[in-house]
Amino acid sequence: MNKKMVIIGLMMTVLLMVSWFSGCVEESGTTITIKGSSTVLPIAETCAEQFMDANPDIQVTVAGGGSSVGIKSVANGEVDIGDASRNAKASDVENIDGVELSDLVDNVVAYDGIAVVVSPAVYLNVTDLTMDQIYQIYTGEISNWNEVGGPDSEIYVNDRASTSGTRATFVELIENVDGNALEDFEEDGGNLAVDNVNQENANVVTAVANSDTAIGYVGLGYVNPDTCPAIMIDGVEATVDTIKDNTYPISRSLHMYTLGQPTGAVKDFIDYVQSEAGQQVVEDEGFIPI
């Protein structure tokens, strides 16, 4: 019995040491560095894994940090690719010597659209809202459906957890007539007039489908015309086409910026993301392929 214990102990020690040293394999070959938007992060990470499997001599490292960080880092040469969920602006590069906005090459890798959904009972009367109305519903200025042509009932407002990427896009893009976004409203100390904070898109769907008075927002893939229909925004329906041609207002493209035209391994990687396999990842992560 003692011997057994000793043997087991030895085996565990050896296993531990093996796992320890295996972490120290020397890095060799080309390295691609990527940094930026947390929205693009899941796409970049999964594509990087698959790309490295296919090209064992190339090392791809992916980091988050946000769109601004991504654009700045690629402009000053710190990384090879800067992920962003918004377009680069002149102000992003104004403090970087010798780099103009036009030096950044925009590689669009996916589209992202958010559908505003309402309960089927509301959808009978309300099929179209303006951005301003949505803004006012979420800030609490509009609290009854009859103010926007619906039934006389209070509005049950559904939100997502503050850490959600979908929520970040939503509060950034929903603006009132003066051009103030929900984001600005919150930064100025306002609290959104929400009744339910949902963990996932699917929870929003359940809440909206099981109510007669609810509004919520979800990724386009979660819309169900029968239980959780999407309304038009400023008269534009949320479809893959309207998101792609940028007429649908709560949409954006996801970018991988490079400094100058991508070459070598960086070009191979971006080509991979834009290829069929990469676009499958885009779709799996809940975004719209290009």
Binding site: Y156, E183, V194, D195, N196, V197, Q199, A207, S211, A214
Partner: protein, 293 residues
């Protein structure tokens, strides 16, 4: 031979000690980690962390609303679970015939075995939809829904521990009461129940501990809005609990938000830990009381 088996005995003893020590070590490790991670939040906010102000865009993470929500949800759950649980326990231990008892007890204990996500799922789909027309509400998602679900979840613990406590009351005490001409109800009211009261208190506290620590079920029905309802005791409004806010935001929290979520964990740990110690003391008191007969 004798010496050999003695050595064996010693070795086995130390191995057992080591294994037992491991679990204690893990507990202390968890406590250390929890307090260590929460410390920056207390350092940043001091006692003002108990105020109600939670906003990611403004990067303010004060947990008062969650603490209040937990208190409100738990009080509601106990208002539902205590009368139901105690009356069921009295029925089971004192009134029900043997056959009924052997049939009912496993079923009640089965309630405790249902995973909490199942309660949550039923709550989010059935209960919440049912509440809207019943109480003429805007939405079923509310502190009340949370209380209802948690009340049901705390029931099996309250019933089964109170039942044990009532059963532990010596038979001769009850028989003496009956012999003096007291009715069955008078005996329960004046003899059995008061004698078992510390065990029953332990049961209630354990049930409460479950309600406070429960996460999955409550996060699906309570609304997770980090604000104190207006008026504060409007149980049909949405609220958040310490557990639900951790589950909701832990995934992608950064910096001080993480520390504040750990602070929620510390508060939970202190509350539930105290309850468990108190209920153990009460249970020991029961054991001592009846030892002499």
């Amino acid at each position: 031979m004798l010496l050999n088996s003695k050595i064996k005995e010693t070795i086995v003893k130390y191995i057992f000690f080591l294994l037992a020590a491991t679990s204690i070590f893990i507990v202390f490790f968890i406590i250390y980690f929890l307090f260590n991670e929460a410390f920056p939040a207390f350092q940043e906010y001091g006692f003002s962390i108990f105020e109600s102000d939670w906003s990611v865009p403004r990067e303010v993470y004060k947990i008062g609303a969650a603490l209040f929500g937990t208190a409100l949800v738990t009080i509601g759950a106990m208002i539902i679970a205590i009368p139901l649980g105690l009356l069921s326990a009295i029925f089971l231990s004192e009134i029900a015939p043997y056959r009924v008892r052997t049939f009912l007890k496993p079923i009640i204990e089965l309630l405790a075995g249902i995973p909490s996500i199942v309660y949550g799922f039923l709550g989010a789909t059935l209960l919440v939809t049912y509440l809207v027309p019943t109480f003429d509400l805007l939405k079923g998602i509310s502190i009340f829904a949370g209380s209802l679900i948690l009340g049901i979840m705390a029931l099996p613990i309250i019933i089964s521990i109170s039942d044990d406590a009532l059963k532990a009351v010596p038979r001769d005490m009850k028989e003496a009461s009956l012999a003096l001409g007291a009715t069955k109800w008078e005996t329960i009211k004046k003899v059995t129940f008061p004698t078992a009261i510390s065990g029953i208190s332990a049961a209630v506290i354990m049930g409460m501990g479950r309600a406070i620590g429960e996460t999955m079920a409550v996060s699906l029905v309570v609304g997770n809005v980090m604000q104190i309802p207006i008026p504060p005791f409007d149980i049909f409004e949405s609220g958040a609990t310490l557990t639900s806010i951790i589950a909701l935001e832990m995934g992608e929290a950064t910096g001080i938000q993480t520390y504040s979520l750990f602070a929620c964990g510390v508060i939970l740990f202190i509350i539930v830990g105290t309850m468990s110690v108190v209920s153990n003391i009460l249970k020991e008191r029961v054991a001592k009381r009846f030892k002499g007969g």
